[in-house]
């Protein structure tokens, strides 16, 4: 059942009950696919793909270059004598930081995990009634959530700084954790995904005497796994790169991106090390994304704006 759920997608206001099998190759009528069209599609993807991938390859190449190769003319994309010097330099620089480097790593990990976890619990708890229970004010809230996706959170920075200082959260972990828990993209994705769960299941649960909370925990959450995994990944990516220096002044509460940006602002010789930082920071979220790609795509298939 859960498997079927993941692929059923309401697209319009009155969706034709449509199901297709993700695992099978897309079946296409061959008649309307021409050879030259294939060529155009291929060339287009190759060009844009190169634009996308080349800087990433250069970055990896740069991080593996020994110092002298940084000043080759003409510059090379890949190093002729690859070395891990930049990474070892980075690790030795880490030992010279003001507070132990592990502390920055711990801060980032702690903030990322608690915020992501808290957001998923709070947002999924709210997403179920907003998707499936009819109550007064639901439409208004749903409109507000969609509306909030339309502006960048940083226009609220000044006002939020006031709120955070008024609450006495400056210089604590809370300043980074609590506001991010109220992010609206995650809620939006989960509401849209939960809408695809058949009402009959929820009705059946109610007849069996389940409370809303039990229905949420026993029926909705197990069926929404792709949705909250997607939210987990998107949140993780965002928080992993978050620099909390605006709200925190104590050095031992600051995060990894802050510490690394301090290390790499050391001019030309640290160019390689700076790219090593970029590559290292990319590894974790990229791995998480690759592993969960199909789940993300299945979830995003349900997140259309329906009005």
């Amino acid at each position: 059942m859960a498997k079927q759920m993941a692929v059923s997608t309401p697209l319009t206001e009155n969706p034709p009950k449509v199901k297709f099998r993700r695992s099978s190759r897309i079946r296409r009528a061959k008649g309307n696919r021409k050879r030259y069209g294939d060529v155009i599609v291929f060339v287009f993807l190759a060009l844009i793909g190169a634009f996308s991938a080349l800087p990433l390859i250069m970055s990896v190449g740069m991080s593996l270059k020994p110092l002298n190769e940084l000043f080759y003319y003409p510059p090379t994309i890949l190093p002729s004598h690859p070395t891990l010097d930049n990474f070892t330099m980075l690790f030795s620089l880490m030992k010279t930081t003001w507070v132990p480097f592990e502390r920055y790593a711990f801060n980032t990990l702690f903030i990322t995990l608690t915020t992501t976890f808290g957001h998923i619990i709070l947002a999924s708890l709210a997403a179920y009634p907003l998707a499936k229970v009819k109550f007064i004010g639901r439409k208004t809230i749903n409109t507000m959530i969609t509306f909030s996706l339309m502006f960048v959170a940083s226009v609220n920075d000044i006002a939020n700084y006031l709120t955070i200082s008024w609450l006495g959260w400056l210089d604590t972990y809370l300043a980074a954790i609590i506001p991010s828990m109220g992010a609206s993209l995650g809620l939006f994705i989960m509401i849209n995904y939960m809408r695809t769960i058949p009402d009959s299941l929820i009705e059946a649960a109610r007849i069996d005497g389940c409370s809303e909370l039990t229905t949420y925990w026993r029926i909705i959450m197990p069926m929404s796994k792709p949705a909250y995994l997607t939210v987990l990944i998107l949140m993780f990516q965002q928080l992993w790169n978050q620099n909390n220096a605006a709200y925190v002044y104590q050095e031992n509460l600051k995060t990894l991106p802050y510490a690394l940006s301090q290390i790499t602002t050391g001019g030309l010789i640290r160019q390689g090390a700076a790219q090593a930082v970029g590559v290292l920071m990319l590894l974790v979220p990229a791995t998480v994304f690759i592993i969960n790609q199909t789940k993300i795509i299945d979830t995003m298939a349900t997140s259309g704006i329906k009005e």
Binding site: N32, P75, P129, F135, I145, G182, Q275
Partner: protein
């Protein structure tokens, strides 16, 4: 609800209805408190603060619309920021969205394995955190930069170009880097929308005389995908405005002759460095209206396409 309910009993009806759904209200409360406190309320607070003079140290003083008149009449840099933001938004918005759309479509023409690999290649620049700094090496001002060395060897230029400090190049450079990072959550939504269109529709289309893939795209795919196209547009527009780090890191803050200055960096300048937060709030409010306005306009347009 409306018909049949007498004015006398209506209020108690509403009360009873709310009491009946108390579980739903309880479930949305924790999330909504955070959402209201850090996303909705700050918009109102910013609007109020934008009518004051506020330097953080002293209490805000009400000045009416003076901040707004100063912005439009006396602040020459703001005029540059508006001009740059409009150019930036127009180009990255239109080109970035078209790229996301056509790449998502072209990927969908491929087999399963290639689709997964390419999705990652196009998405990777967005998760990269600091990898975008490689662009400062690609377009570095000396002959060791990839762009300069290539142009020098092709004899197109005689001396290296200072890409990020020459007025004429700064904004185009920022736009290119932003385009590189433009295939984020919006792209994933489009990619997911493409793969969730019912394949039977394509078969039916082929029988009814859809001759090539452009016709198929126009008559079948786009109408089916309208909700995804709307979500993607919102996500992409917001991400585009939120990305100030590219401008700040690559072109400097402030950039040479403010050539890379955007409304967002103008706001940061006044809120973080000059500590004129009332003035900064006025910019934030204008940014807010600007973003919401553009989003509404785009949604209106896309609804026409889909409908």
């Amino acid at each position: 609800m409306k018909t049949g309910s007498k004015p006398k009993t209506r209020l108690s009806d509403i009360g009873r209805e709310i009491w009946k759904k108390r579980a739903a209200y309880a479930m949305i409360t924790p999330y909504m408190i955070i959402f209201l406190a850090f996303t909705a309320l700050p918009v109102v607070v910013s609007m109020v603060l934008s009518l004051t003079q506020y330097d953080v140290l002293q209490a805000p003083v009400f000045v009416g619309l003076r901040n707004y008149t100063n912005l439009f009449v006396n602040d020459e840099v703001f005029a540059i920021a508006i001009r740059n933001t409009i150019i930036f938004a127009l180009i990255t918005g239109v080109v970035g969205y078209s790229l996301s759309f056509f790449v998502a479509w072209a990927i969908n023409e491929l087999g399963k394995g290639m689709r997964a690999v390419l999705t990652f290649v196009f998405y990777a620049p967005t998760i990269s955190g600091t990898v975008y700094t490689i662009w400062s090496i690609i377009f570095s001002g000396d002959m060791y930069g990839y762009a300069n060395s290539l142009l020098l060897r092709l004899n197109l230029i005689s001396s290296p170009i200072d890409w990020f400090t020459t007025d004429a190049y700064i904004l185009p450079m920022i736009i290119i880097v932003q385009l590189w990072m433009s295939m984020g959550a919006g792209f994933l939504t489009l990619r997911a929308g493409m793969s969730s269109v019912d394949t039977q529709l394509y078969e039916a289309g082929a029988i009814d005389g859809v001759k090539n893939r452009m016709q198929e795209l126009w008559y079948i795919t786009i109408p089916q995908m309208a909700p995804h196209m709307m979500t993607a547009a919102v996500l992409q527009i917001t991400a585009m405005f939120g990305n100030t780090q590219v401008s700040i890191h690559l072109a400097g803050f402030p950039s040479t002759n403010y050539a890379g200055h955007l409304m967002m960096t103008h706001m940061m300048d006044y809120s973080n460095f000059r500590l004129e937060r009332g003035y900064a709030c006025a910019i934030a409010v204008l940014m807010f209206l600007f973003m919401v306005g553009i989003n509404q306009l785009v949604l209106k347009f896309l609804r026409k396409v889909g409908g």
